[in-house]
């Protein structure tokens, strides 16, 4: 009966009510996310366009700027710069914690530590903001002064050091603490998926534990690490309250990380300026939101591209 190997008959399953309900539900859910994204994007575009097309002199928020682009550029820079600094601190630390949990720590400690890291993700950003502005900033200020005194020749640490410690470096530390749990949790899951046979093979060949990790765990988890980093980056780019409360901002573009004059971020700037904004100023702020939306999209696309390019090297397929 079924011995016709040339053309296997296509078997169509009988559609039961449950099947149809479930597939309909899943399709609706999938379509809904697209519809929501389209709604947000069209709102941002419709409301943002007047800010670019109208005369800059009509918008008090743009006072001192030639046009919308000179206003938004320091904000874009600040958003990317603070997020980059945060990832620079958070990613190595997260990978370290994840490796410790998955490969080094005794099982009991590993579990407890995992819970604590997850708990960190549940702390509201306002709490991080309060902690950053009132506890962390005064605590790191003497260290900043020391850095400035001794390493002031290095461009990043130059300039007049802040007396309160509320600089972009502090904001980035707070951001790093905030993205740490996301990156750690994902990396931990990925590292635990490493095929045990690979690991045992490496150990059998005489590799030390660190060599085993370098030969099997990290190559296997590379695309996962990148995905986790991008998720963390998404949070760092969009973080609002914590940055608004911690960062002392001015509309400048500078790489100095210890001074009082730091570039603000898009999200924090919207939060600070919106309460007193009226008329076209609101459109300007929404247009900066559109910029953030675009940046996030670009960043995510790059991440996708990197992950896909690396796919052949990963052990996942």
């Amino acid at each position: 009966m079924t011995s016709a190997p040339a053309r296997p008959a296509r078997i169509t399953a009988k559609k039961r009510l449950g099947d149809r309900l479930f597939s309909g539900g899943a399709t609706t859910a999938g379509a809904l996310i697209l519809a929501m994204l389209a709604a947000v994007a069209s709102f941002l575009v419709l409301q943002g366009v007047p800010a670019v097309t109208a005369d800059p002199r009509d918008m008090s928020i743009l006072a001192g700027h030639e046009n919308f682009w000179t206003y938004v550029w320091p904000l874009i820079f600040g958003t990317l710069w603070s997020a980059a600094l945060a990832l620079l601190m958070a990613v190595p630390l997260s990978i370290g914690i994840a490796l410790f949990i998955s490969h080094y720590a005794p099982r009991r400690i590993a579990q407890g530590l995992g819970y604590i890291i997850d708990l960190l993700a549940a702390v509201p950003s306002v709490v991080f903001g309060l902690w950053g502005a009132n506890t962390l900033a005064p605590a790191v200020q003497p260290f900043y002064t020391w850095l400035n005194d001794n390493l002031g020749w290095f461009p990043l640490f130059s300039g007049q050091v802040s007396g309160t410690g509320r600089t972009i470096l502090t904001a980035s530390i707070v951001l790093a603490v905030m993205v740490l749990p996301i990156i750690t949790a994902l990396c931990r899951e990925i590292f635990m998926q490493t095929p045990v046979l690979h690991e045992e093979a490496a150990l059998a060949l005489g590799a030390t534990r660190w060599e085993m990790i370098r030969m099997t765990v990290l190559p296997f988890g590379r695309s996962g690490i990148i995905s986790a980093t991008m998720l963390g980056l998404g949070r760092a780019l969009g973080e609002t309250m914590a940055v608004a409360m911690v960062l002392s901002s001015a509309g400048v573009v500078t790489f100095q990380v210890l001074t009082s004059t730091n570039p603000s971020t898009i999200a924090a700037n919207i939060a600070l300026s919106f309460p007193e904004a009226y008329g076209l100023n609101v459109n300007v702020l929404i247009a900066t939101g559109l910029m953030l939306f675009a940046i996030t999209l670009v960043v995510n696309s790059i991440a996708r591209w990197v992950v896909n390019r690396r796919k052949e090297f990963s052990g996942a397929n």
Binding site: P138, Q160, S162, E276
Partner: protein, 367 residues
Amino acid sequence: MNFKRYGSVAAIAVAGSLLLASCAANEGDTGSSTGDEGTPSTLSGTLVGAGASSQQSAQEAWVAAFQTANPDVTVEYDPAGSGAGRDTFIAGASSFAGSDRAFKDEEIAEDNFASCVPGTGIVELPAYISPIAIIFNLDGIATLNLDADTVANIFAGNITKWNDPAIVSQNEGVELPDLAITAVHRADDSGTTENLTDYLAAAAPSVWTWEADGVWPIEHGEAAPQTSGVIDAVTNGTGTIGYADASRAGDLGTVAVKVGDEYVPYSAEAAAAIVDASPLVEGRGEGDLAIELDRASTESGVYPIVLISYLIACNEYEDAAQAELTKAYLEYIISDEGQQLAAEKAGSAPISKTLFEKASAAVAAIK
């Protein structure tokens, strides 16, 4: 059956007693605060106002007290911001506005206030006066004497050390540390910033060359969000200086600013005095008490860094009921009781006797 009937009787009794009790709470001090002792209030209706958020806590206190005195009146104040408040008033959607600045001559000339009878003009009362303190954090120093030029130089970043000769020479006997100054300003758009920059521009024109603005005009200095952010930044920092509503200064050191030949620390009386020492804007109507604040005043005992918020109403309303309510409410606000209440709840400076007389004449003319 019986149970059901008793049940409903009981429910009515409970509802009735609640109703009576709530009335009684209101009647407690009816009339005592509106001036007409003994006679219960006959006012009723809803009074809508909108505007400056600086007045918010004072307005909340006034509304609560006024409603207790006039149980049939509902007052709504929307602290949407000065600009929004003026627009709402022009559109006729509110009976009065709260605004951190008076209407400009050209805005009054347009005469398109929807609630007012055309051609009758408006009433503007500088009834909310709030001193702004310059606060700093230096161990063991509670007060410093500074003149306007020095303050401007500090905030502009020209003076960077606490032991700068300009500061030392004005404060003999005070041990000033060799410490960098961190000047903290508001990160958000604020009336407090606008008043400080207005003072610096008027009193130290050679140093502070920027115009008065609600957004900090220069890049120098440290930014912190809202009043509480500035207070926290100054409190937690070292060698910090900032500015905030005086009621929030707490234990921080405050600056006595030089006016004429003397140094004046902030106080309610000194803040009210600058309003008396300043001339009215010329060419305005009878009830328009818009003030040309003389920030550079050299009068003795005046404190020039104040935020003045106006209450704005019509001279003559299209709607008589609206006029009656607004008049009664403004009468209460400028009264000694209203001003003391605001001083207590919002830390404002009660208006002086002279200003009260002018203001009450203006309110009396509202119809």
